[in-house]
C-alpha cells in the first residue's frame, strides 16, 4: 500500500470521481487557480478545466444554493467550503433546500451533493475559526454526515459520498491534512454508516471520530501502560450512526467514554450515550462519560486553547473513572 497524506488521499478521490462521472464537478472559493486554500484540489483545474473545477466569489450562501439547484437537475456537485465555520452562511441552503427537497416534493426530486471542507479547531485560530459542527448537521433528517480520521477512510468515504444520492456533509480537518497513512493502491470505496475498530481492547470502549481518533489512540497507549486495555471505535460516519458497532463493542467491554471535538450540549456524544442506555443498559458496568471541548468559545491563548480541547490525559482520567480506579 502507498503511504499518502490525508490531503492527497482526498485529492485522489476527487480526481478519480471527476474522471469516472462527467456529472461530477467541484466548486468553491480558491478551488481552481489557487489549487485550493488547503491544496486538496491541487492540479484538478489543469486536468478537468474551468467548467468542472469552478472558482466562486466569497458567497457561501449563493454558491451552496447554485450547487443545490444543479444537484436537483441530476448533476453531482462537490461544494468546497473553505472551512465549516463559513458554512454558517450557507446553512439555509443546506438545511432548508438540500435536506428537504426530496421530502417536500413527495420524492420527485433528489439532491446528490457533497458539501466538504475542514471543521473543528486547528491552532490558535480563536473563537470563530475553531468550531466542530457535526452535531448541527447530524440533527437534520435528510443529511448524511461523515468525518473521517485517516487518509484511507477519507478517500474511500469521499468516493462513497460523491456517489451517494443524498446530500452529504463531509468534514475534514486542517490538522489532519498533513497526517499520513496507508492507502490501498487499487480502486475502493468505504460504505457510509460503518464504524471501524481502530484498536481492539477488552476493558473500555473509546468512541471517537475525526481528530479525536488520535487523542483516543494516545489515551489507549497511556492506559495500556497502566494495564487497561482500551478499544478504540472510530465512528467515521456520524449520521447514519453505526449503533450496531457501538453496541457490539460496549457489550464486550461494558464501559464507554465518548471523545469528541464539539461542545457537550446536545453533542454527538449525547446521542451515542442515549443509544447505549436505551438498547444495552444492562450491559453497562458504569455510566458512560464524555470528553468534549470545554463549553466555551475557543480562546486564542495557546495554554487556554489547550485546556479547552479534548486530550489524552482527560480521556485517560475519564476511563479510570468508569473503571472505578483511583484517579
Amino acid at each position: 500500500m502507498a503511504v499518502l497524506t490525508y490531503r492527497d488521499a482526498l485529492n485522489q478521490a476527487l480526481r478519480e470521481e471527476l474522471s469516472r462521472d462527467e456529472n461530477v464537478f467541484l466548486m468553491g472559493e480558491e478551488v481552481a487557480e489557487y489549487n485550493g486554500a488547503y491544496k486538496v484540489s491541487r492540479g484538478l483545474l489543469e486536468e478537468f478545466g474551468p467548467m468542472r473545477v469552478v472558482d466562486t466569489p466569497i458567497a457561501e450562501l449563493g454558491f451552496a444554493g447554485i450547487g443545490v439547484g444543479a444537484a436537483m437537475t441530476g448533476l453531482r456537485p462537490i461544494v468546497e467550503l473553505m472551512t465549516w465555520n463559513f458554512a454558517l452562511l450557507a446553512i439555509d441552503q443546506i438545511v432548508n433546500a438540500a435536506a428537504k427537497v426530496r421530502y417536500m416534493s413527495g420524492g420527485q426530486l433528489g439532491c446528490p451533493i457533497v458539501f466538504r471542507g475542514p471543521g473543528g479547531a486547528a491552532l490558535q485560530l480563536a473563537a470563530q475559526h475553531s468550531q466542530a459542527f457535526e452535531s448541527w448537521y447530524a440533527h437534520i433528517p435528510g443529511l448524511k454526515v461523515i468525518a473521517p480520521a485517516t487518509p484511507a477512510d477519507a478517500k474511500g468515504l469521499l468516493k462513497s459520498a460523491i456517489r451517494d444520492d443524498n446530500p452529504v456533509i463531509f468534514m475534514e480537518g486542517e490538522m489532519l491534512y498533513n497526517t499520513k497513512g496507508e492507502v490501498p493502491e487499487e480502486e475502493y470505496t468505504i460504505p457510509i454508516g460503518k464504524a471501524d475498530i481502530k484498536r481492539a481492547g477488552d476493558d473500555v470502549t473509546l468512541v471517537c471520530h475525526s481528530k479525536t481518533l488520535s487523542v483516543a489512540l494516545k489515551a489507549a497507549d497511556k492506559l495500556a501502560e497502566q494495564g487497561v486495555s482500551a478499544e478504540v471505535l472510530d465512528l467515521r460516519t456520524i449520521r447514519p450512526l453505526d449503533t450496531e458497532a457501538i453496541f457490539a463493542s460496549v457489550s464486550r467491554t461494558h464501559r464507554c467514554v465518548v471523545v469528541e471535538e464539539g461542545w457537550p450540549f446536545a453533542g454527538v456524544g449525547a446521542q451515542v450515550v442515549y443509544e447505549i442506555q436505551e438498547s444495552i443498559f444492562d450491559e453497562l458496568d458504569a455510566p458512560v462519560l464524555r470528553v468534549t471541548q470545554a463549553d466555551v468559545p475557543m480562546p486564542y491563548n495557546r495554554a487556554l486553547e489547550k485546556a479547552a480541547k479534548p486530550d489524552p490525559d482527560r480521556v485517560a482520567a475519564a476511563v479510570r473513572k468508569v473503571m472505578y480506579l483511583e484517579a
Partner: protein, 340 residues
Amino acid sequence: MAATVTRSRKESGVSEETAREWRHWLRQMLLIRRFEEKAGEAYSLGKIGGFCHLYIGQEAVGVGTLAALRPEDYVVSAYREHGQALARGMSARSVMAELYGKATGCSKGKGGSMHLFDASLHFMGGHGIVGGQIPLGAGFAFSAKYRGTDQVSLCYFGEAAANIGSFHETLNMAGLWKLPVIFVIENNGYGMGTALARASAITDLFERAASYNMVGVVVDGQDVVAVKAAADEAVRRARDESAPTLMEVRTYRYVGHSMSDAAHGTYRTKDEVEEYRKRDPIAVLGAQMREAGLLNDDSMAELEKDVMAEVLDAEKFAEESPEPELAELTSDVYAPAGGL
C-alpha cells in the same frame, strides 16, 4: 358593441396565432383567479391548513412569463406559487389536492401550499424561505450551461426578496458566469405589510441589474401581453446569448399577504386596493379582446362557466381523495437504496 364583435379578425388586425394566445391567457388567468378564490374559501372552512398565499391580482405575471418558456425549461418560485403552477400546466386537481394535503396532490400531501412541485414539468418548487429559491434558479441555469443544453431557468421572487443576501450573491454569479436565467421580481408593492419604499434604498429595482452586468427591464404586470413580450426578449437573451436578465414586473395583490392577513388596514388603504382593481389583468386583456372582436358577454360567460367547472372538479377531487398512508411519514427522507 355588436359591431365590434362581428368585426372580422382581419379587420381587427389580430392574427389567428395571437387570437389563440390571448384566449389561452385569458382562460389561464381566469382559472387562477377562480382557483384562488376557491382556495381562500376552503381555507376559511378549515379544509386547507398552514399558510396559504393567494395570487389574486398578479395572474398576468405568471401567465405572461410562462407563456415564453418551452417545456424543457426550468421554473422555480417562492410560496405564492399556486398561479404559476397552474400556468405551467399542472392540473387544478393536483394543486388543489396538495393544498388539501391529500395523497393525490402534486407533492403527495407532504409539501402543501408553499411546496408545489412537478418534476415532469420542471416546476422545481415553491420554496418557503424568502430568497431561498434565487440561487436554486441560478443552479438550474448553471446545470443547463454545464450540460450544453439550451434550456433556460425562470426564477420568481417578490420585491422584498430583492433585499436579501442571496439576491446579491446569486445575481453577481449569474452575471459573472453568464447564466441563462431570468430573475423575475414580482413587485406587488409590499413585503407582507412593509411598502417597498420603506424597505429598499431605491424603488426602481430593475436598476440593480447594472451592478451585475446584466440587462434590467421593467414591465407593467397587469398587462399580460406586455409581460409576455418582455419575457420573450429575456428568454431569447438567455437561450441565444446565455445572458441573464433582471425583469421587474409591477403588479399588485388584492388580498392580504397570506390568508391570515387582512387585505388592508395599517399598511395600505381600502381605497388604494380599489384603485388598483381598476387595472385588473383579466379586465385589461378582456377589454383588448373585446376591442379586437375576440370576446363578448356570451363568450365571457361561457368561459366563466368552463373555468368554474374545472375549479369545482378540482375541489371535488381534493375532497374525495384519500389522505396519505401513515407509512408516507418516513418515506422520501433519503433516496431509496440503489439510486434515485
